[in-house]
């Protein structure tokens, strides 16, 4: 479980996040949604410690992260896996070395055990015969899956994904969404996903926070989202035709 309490963040005098609160639950896919530029990525980066909030608290299973000493920070970080928007695979390493990397630097596991774990994770994301390929030689969707494998290889307790299906076709997007949900449930991970894809929201939104104009305007799940009564959220949710039709049918 990750708790965010009264989080504020601004750049120079631009207020990007104001008084954000939320609780991301274990074993659930937690979504952060909002329009482009609303501060979703900034919220995610604050949560994983790539940015430092101006004020507020972030608790990982009760352990405060923001003002933790270096050892606690490292301890928490080693439980975090993250999938970046572009995959962020190390381009000088092949698929197998990429997935193995966290084990190499963070654990003292013997080599054959590492390889077993790597192959297990690659199999979990349906990438069996790509071990020796370089990141530049595989497709965007495959890169994302390698990224997921790398994020979970060290038995991460917390998984963060920044727009896991941007730039992917609808079918591959759904595959990635389902994969994330399955993994979350199977290993009881606390998963936080930034997205502005309504398909993902309806598919895997077990807990959703909606950010607009630097504030959290709504939280809930994908069943409640279509009748939230919040105007800004309705504008976001029903921006496309399909969702509007869906509303007509369901009312």
């Amino acid at each position: 479980m990750i708790e965010i309490k009264n989080l504020y963040k601004s750049f120079d005098d631009k207020k990007v996040l104001q008084d954000i609160n939320g609780t991301f639950m274990q074993g659930k896919t937690n979504l952060i949604i909002g329009a482009s530029g609303s501060g979703k990525s900034v919220l995610l980066k604050n949560t994983v410690g790539l940015l430092k909030p101006d004020s507020g608290q972030i608790l990982y299973n009760g352990r405060s992260f923001v003002d933790a000493d270096r050892d606690t920070k490292t301890e928490i970080r080693r439980e975090i896996g993250m999938l970046f928007q572009g995959g962020a695979l190390f381009d000088s390493k092949n698929v197998e070395q990429n997935v193995k990397f966290p084990l190499d630097v963070l654990t003292k596991m013997p080599e054959d055990e590492k390889m077993d774990r790597v192959n297990f994770c690659l199999k979990r994301v349906s990438l069996e015969n790509t071990n020796k390929r370089m990141p530049s030689e595989i497709s965007g969707g495959m890169q994302k899956r390698v990224g997921i494998a790398r994020a979970i290889v060290n038995n991460s307790k917390y998984l963060f994904c920044d727009e896991p299906n941007s730039g992917l076709d609808p079918q591959t997007s759904i595959q990635i969404d389902r994969l994330l949900q399955e993994i979350t449930d199977e290993y009881q991970i606390t998963t936080v996903i930034v997205t502005h894809d309504m398909n993902s929201v309806m598919e895997i939104g077990e807990y959703i926070i909606f950010i607009c104009n630097s504030r959290k305007l709504w939280e809930g799940d994908n069943k409640d989202i279509i009748h939230s009564g919040v105007k800004e959220l309705d504008d976001f949710v029903f921006a496309n035709n399909m969702m509007r039709k869906f509303r007509e049918v369901s009312f």
């Binding site: 980066k45 994983v48 410690g49 790539l50 270096r70 920070k73 490292t74 970080r77 080693r78 975090i80 993250m82 970046f84 928007q85 572009g86 962020a88 695979l89 190390f90 381009d91 966290p102 190499d104 630097v105 963070l106 963060f160």
Partner: protein, 243 residues
């Protein structure tokens, strides 16, 4: 001014929160091979020609019959050891290795690879940059020694086949009034230059913002700033150690 401060903090971060010694040994070896292979041919080629040309030109300028031909050997030797081998090679090195370091780190920055390391709890400055700096500190003095030897060989080739002076005179000149401190001085210079090129280029790449265009700009800036700092350091070191 902000940049200078940021650069100093960047250097400080090199030694914080490091990984195991073995991790570094492997990384440094990889970088050594990469840096060596990357620059050895160009450096060697330039050195041979530099030596040959400076021999020919010195000979061309020394027409006074009172000055023995062996002086040419002496001039070429001192010129090579004091200035050509360490400094000119450094400029070439900045162009080749500096731009590659900045481009490499800049790409890692904009594709979030550096963020990925940080999220894993790895200090990206020490993990990525320290091995590059250490490898450069090892490899560059070796390249300078190679460049020096090749430049003098180039001088010999010019003497032998250029027909401007007798090879024997050239060798006599090489051994005349030799001051071993000039070799020490060249090595001190090469260590300082190596550090400047590696750390400045790494700094430029590491703090790249934006996209592919900015990576290119960071590379160019890395080379420019490295070259200027090499020339400044060259002057300061000569002032401090020779005068």
């Amino acid at each position: 001014m902000f940049r200078v401060g940021q650069y100093v903090l960047f250097l400080g971060a090199l030694f914080k929160n490091r990984e195991s010694f073995r991790t570094y040994v492997n990384l440094v070896l990889d970088e050594c091979i990469y840096i060596g292979i990357n620059s050895i041919v160009l450096v060697g080629l330039v050195a041979v020609f530099m030596g040959a040309v400076s021999t020919l030109q010195t000979a061309y300028n020394l027409v006074n019959p009172l000055i023995p031909d062996s002086v040419i050997g002496l001039v070429v030797r001192d010129l090579t050891i004091l200035e050509l081998a360490p400094t000119i090679t450094a400029i070439i090195f900045a162009g080749k290795v500096g731009s590659s370091i900045a481009g490499n780190l800049g790409t890692m920055r904009i594709t979030e690879q550096i963020d990925a390391l940080e999220v894993m709890g790895i200090n990206p400055v020490s993990y990525l940059v320290l091995p590059k700096i250490i490898a450069t500190l090892f490899m560059y003095p070796l390249l300078v020694i190679l460049a020096g030897s090749l430049a003098i060989s180039g001088g010999y080739l010019a003497a032998e086949y250029g027909g401007v002076l007798a090879t024997a005179d050239f060798f006599v000149g090489l051994k005349q009034e030799f001051n071993p401190f000039s070799v020490q001085f060249a090595l001190i210079k090469s260590i300082v230059f190596a550090f400047l090129v590696a750390s400045i280029s790494a700094y430029m790449g590491f703090y790249t913002k934006g996209g592919a265009l900015e990576v290119g700009q960071a590379s160019t800036r890395a080379v420019t700033v490295s070259c200027i700092s090499i020339l400044l350091a060259d002057f300061v070191l000569a002032q401090l150690l020779l005068v």
